[in-house]
Amino acid sequence: MNEEVATAANPATGKSEAQETAPLIKRNLSLLGHVNVKLEAVVGHANVSVDRLFSVVKGDLLTLDCAMDEPVSIRLDGKVIAKGHLVAVGDQFGVKISEIL
């Protein structure tokens, strides 16, 4: 016996349930390729007391918690998406990617 499996259709729209719950726009990043996002490189952290923070003057040196050869983190929207090493590209900073998912 042949069993006919039918998907329930919404009488109002005439579409099946599966059609209605499927994303309207298929995930395709190339559609958004031109959208610009802001990136930042986090080069290190430091902990200072409130007292010290409010007493620093121009020229004061603040040592960060990372060694010179440690990679920096590249952050997008608050999330670290890659790590890399700071490089100089002409007059500008660049980051040579060492880790990325």
Binding site: L32, G33, K38, D51, T63, Q92, V95, I97
Partner: protein
């Protein structure tokens, strides 16, 4: 500011002190009012809950608080009992004696509390803070031999009768001084500028992401998860990265 009642039960030591004070004062009062006065027949039993009665309690303002005295069988019955009168409990004279006796007890307590005693103003209903142990109320049954009446007072009255012993002043540190020692986390960031999503999607290990920031441009010092607070130039100290502060925002 909200004038909210303080939450919390009376401490055991203050309840004991208050109990002793009430036994003493009721005994003195009884000597003047009860014909068959006997100190041994007087006691005060603390209550855990207020027992409502048909009669409404005699209520006074004592300082900023409220005091209630309630003869469950009525003021006339109290007056009769105090005067050792075996006849009709409902006589006007008995009622007056009962009423005045309770008023005198309230007055004695107000003298003890060194606070003025007054009647509730017209239309003012007594607050139930008198009956809520969790708000610091004290309730008791006062027994004079076989006759009992109830007493209730709120925390304000208790505080007047048995003042809170001020604890030794804690050595407080100035807030500013304490805050000075709090550690603040900072991060140093180089704004790389904008990149398109397609650029990011194509990014691989070994590739170089070129930012907008010039090597000579200051880096930002930010509070972690917060705002930028200053700018600095990147440098090195003892093989660690370091920044030299240039200016603040």
């Amino acid at each position: 500011m909200i004038d909210a009642p303080r939450f919390g039960w009376l401490g055991e030591s203050r309840r004991i002190e208050l109990h002793a004070l009430l036994v003493r004062d009721v005994s003195e009062w009884s000597r003047d009012w009860w014909m068959e006065h006997s100190s041994a027949a007087i006691d005060v039993y603390p209550l855990d809950a207020w027992v409502p009665a048909k009669e409404s309690p005699a209520t006074w303002r004592l300082g900023a608080g409220t005091l209630e005295l309630l003869s469950h069988r009525g003021e006339a019955a109290l007056g009769s009992y105090l005067s050792a009168h075996a006849g009709d409990d409902s006589s006007l004279l008995a009622s007056r004696i009962g009423h005045r006796a309770l008023a005198d007890l309230a007055l004695r307590l107000s003298r003890r509390a060194q606070a003025p005693l007054g009647n509730l103003s017209e239309g003012e209903s007594p607050l139930d803070a008198c009956h809520r142990l969790e708000l610091g109320a004290y309730m008791a049954t006062v027994s004079l031999g076989r006759f009992t009446f109830a007493l209730a007072m709120d925390r304000a009255v208790v505080d007047l009768l048995v003042p809170v012993k001020s604890p030794e002043k804690a050595a407080l540190a100035p807030r500013a001084q304490a805050m000075n020692g709090v550690d603040v986390s900072l991060e140093v960031c180089i704004p790389l500028g904008s990149a398109s999503l397609s650029q990011l999607d194509d990014l691989r290990v070994g590739e170089v992401l070129v930012g907008d920031a010039l090597l000579s441009a200051p880096v930002e010092i930010r509070l972690v998860d917060g705002h930028s607070i200053a700018f600095a130039t990147l440098g090195e100290r003892d093989s660690s990265r370091a920044v030299t502060l240039t200016h603040s925002l």
